[in-house]
């Protein structure tokens, strides 16, 4: 009886406390996006919708968000294409130096960001390249590739190779078999990888800070302005991103649940 109550109540209460820990700063950020803040958003000065109605009221916030979105999209597209190609090769083909390729993909994930950032900056300084928008994209693609490979690889490995063989038996050329059979089956994995790459890129600060020169991304803008006061519009942007992502994920969940139910009946 004692064991039952332990499992029944203690664990959910513990989980609820963990969620409180996870979500408190988000609630705080959200609440202070409605603060009638003025210059520094430190003290509660009253409720207002102005910040949400005028998210570009602090122009630097909007500029940095636009930069982050552009960098995120570019880095996601490039790293998803490169990473997907590698993932397919790793699972489907035998080739020499396989262990070497695996090591080369593992190392960027096992290296602290500050080292990756410092190394790239040393390289750019060495080549006399001025850090800016392009170098941020280059850096983001570099650290996203490995994560794309890991995500897509899991999907490729779970594919039934007999499906491709069936396509070949039905006289599909290898190219047609890939684009009509393999690729559509890989799409959910590729989409998950792209989502991961985008969120890694959009939220990256440390590597970006090393390789950004005068270009501001959203995290960098927030960090730099932390000392002199963050405009409430930054909270609006953070909260809006949160809501948009939440809507996307929840919609996906609901659709998946509906499909499961349809498949079950």
């Amino acid at each position: 009886m004692k064991r039952l109550s332990f499992g029944r109540y203690l664990l959910p209460v513990y989980a609820a406390l963990a969620f409180l820990y996870l979500l408190t700063p988000i609630a705080y950020t959200f609440a202070f996006s409605f603060n009638d803040a003025g210059r520094s958003n430190l003290v509660w000065r009253g409720f207002t919708f102005t910040n949400w109605q005028n998210p570009c009221g602090a122009p630097a916030v909007c500029e940095s968000v636009v930069n982050s979105l552009q960098i995120g999209v570019l880095a996601t597209v490039i790293s998803t294409v490169l990473g997907t190609m590698i993932a397919i090769a790793l699972v489907r083909y035998r080739f020499r130096l396989r262990a070497g390729a695996n090591l080369l993909l593992f190392l960027p994930m096992a290296t602290p960001e500050v080292v990756l950032g410092a190394a790239l900056l040393a390289q750019f300084l060495n080549l006399r390249v001025n850090p800016g928008f392009a170098t941020i994209v280059i850096a983001h693609v570099m650290f996203c590739i490995s994560f794309v490979v890991v995500t897509v690889k899991a999907r490729v490995a779970s594919l039934d190779p007999r499906l491709e063989e069936a396509a070949a038996d039905l006289y599909a050329s290898p190219r047609a078999a890939f684009w009509r059979v393999t690729f559509p089956l890989l799409l959910p994995g590729i989409a998950a990888a792209a989502l991961l790459a985008f969120s890694l890129s959009f939220d990256d600060f440390i590597i970006t800070n090393f390789n950004s020169g005068n270009t501001d991304t959203f995290p960098k803008f927030v960090y730099v302005s932390a000392t002199r006061g963050i405009p409430a519009q930054a909270n609006v942007m953070g909260s809006a991103m949160f809501l948009i992502a939440l809507i996307i994920v929840v919609t996906g969940q609901v659709l998946a649940a509906r499909r499961r139910r349809a498949a079950a009946t």
Binding site: P25, A122, F218
Partner: protein, 301 residues
């Protein structure tokens, strides 16, 4: 395959060669990219770490040399920061596991019969990813600030001495690190708990094992891969982090990341920054290799 058998050995070898050429066509662009923007930069970093400063030259001027003394100097001068980096990252990893494992267990095992609740809770774990982690860390800084509601309430009920503070302490830095990387711990652990076959746990009970020993001998070994990747995803970034220390700590909590950052940008001392980076990378890689080997999950990737 049948065709190859009929036509004979020669075509099969040609086919294998063609297949391996396709493999390299797929691999080449990505691996080349990593060579140019990961391997080469690390090599440059290694070289830079051996450069020496030009005596009497302008700020930041260096020249090629083989100054191994950079490493000795860096270790001697910044041993406390190294110690803190690894200590804080280790404590944060243990705490994240202590918080994340039960959390993942509730979502992955207890909520199995209720998929909708499971989905919602999972979204709540991923949720922090979508608000910038810098914004969230600054939110903590303001929530725990000296004049904040939390601190004044704690002081009124005498849980906190009148002169105590929560920010600018090592505790705040470790709590911040734990907070920031908690989802990275929870998600891989959840992934392995979600696949856990509950019949094995029941079998443990049927064989008169206590819940604790069932957990130790059945559940824990089966979820080891999740624990290993979760702790790597927490420890590696935490060891190199400087944001939490910069925002939630003070001069006495500075970690290697803070030193590398300031050597690069404020002091413009590239050789020392590079030497510190190389040491950090080597130390983390050694620890990771040892940990992966010890826990017997080499096929993690």
């Amino acid at each position: 395959m049948t065709a190859a058998l009929v036509v004979g050995h020669g075509t099969e070898v040609a086919g294998a060669r063609r297949r391996s050429r396709t493999a390299w066509l797929l691999l080449a662009p990505g691996l080349l990219y990593l060579f140019v923007f990961f391997v080469a930069p690390v090599a440059v970093l290694l070289l830079t770490s051996l450069f020496e400063r030009v005596p009497g030259g302008p700020v930041g001027a260096t020249r090629p040399a083989f100054a191994v003394s950079n490493y000795v100097d860096a270790v001697v001068a910044y041993a406390p920061q190294f110690g803190r980096s690894f200590l804080y990252a280790f404590i944060a990893t243990v705490l994240a596991l202590a918080i994340g494992y039960p959390l993942a267990y509730v979502i992955g095992v207890r909520c199995r019969t209720r998929p909708l609740l499971q989905g919602v809770l999972l979204v709540l774990v991923i949720a922090p990813f979508f608000t910038s982690f810098i914004l969230r860390t600054i939110a903590w800084k303001q929530i725990l600030a000296d004049d904040s509601v939390v601190v004044s309430v704690l002081k009124t009920v005498s849980l906190l001495p009148d002169d105590a503070r929560l920010t600018a302490t090592p505790v705040a830095v470790v709590a911040g690190l734990t907070y920031n990387f908690l989802p990275f711990m929870t998600l891989p652990v959840y992934a392995s708990l979600e696949r856990l076959d509950l019949r094995l746990v029941e079998a443990g009970g049927d064989l008169y094992a206590t819940p604790i020993s069932t957990f130790r001998h059945v559940t824990l070994p089966l979820t080891m891969p999740g624990i290993v990747s979760g702790s790597l995803l927490t420890f590696i970034p935490a060891a190199g982090d400087y944001v939490n220390s910069a925002l939630l700590g003070n001069a006495g909590t500075s970690m290697v990341g803070n030193v590398i950052d300031s050597r690069f940008f404020r002091v413009v001392d590239y050789p020392t920054a590079a030497a510190l980076s190389v040491i950090l990378m080597a130390a983390v890689l050694l620890l990771v290799a040892w940990y992966v080997r010890r826990s017997g999950t080499e096929d993690l990737l």
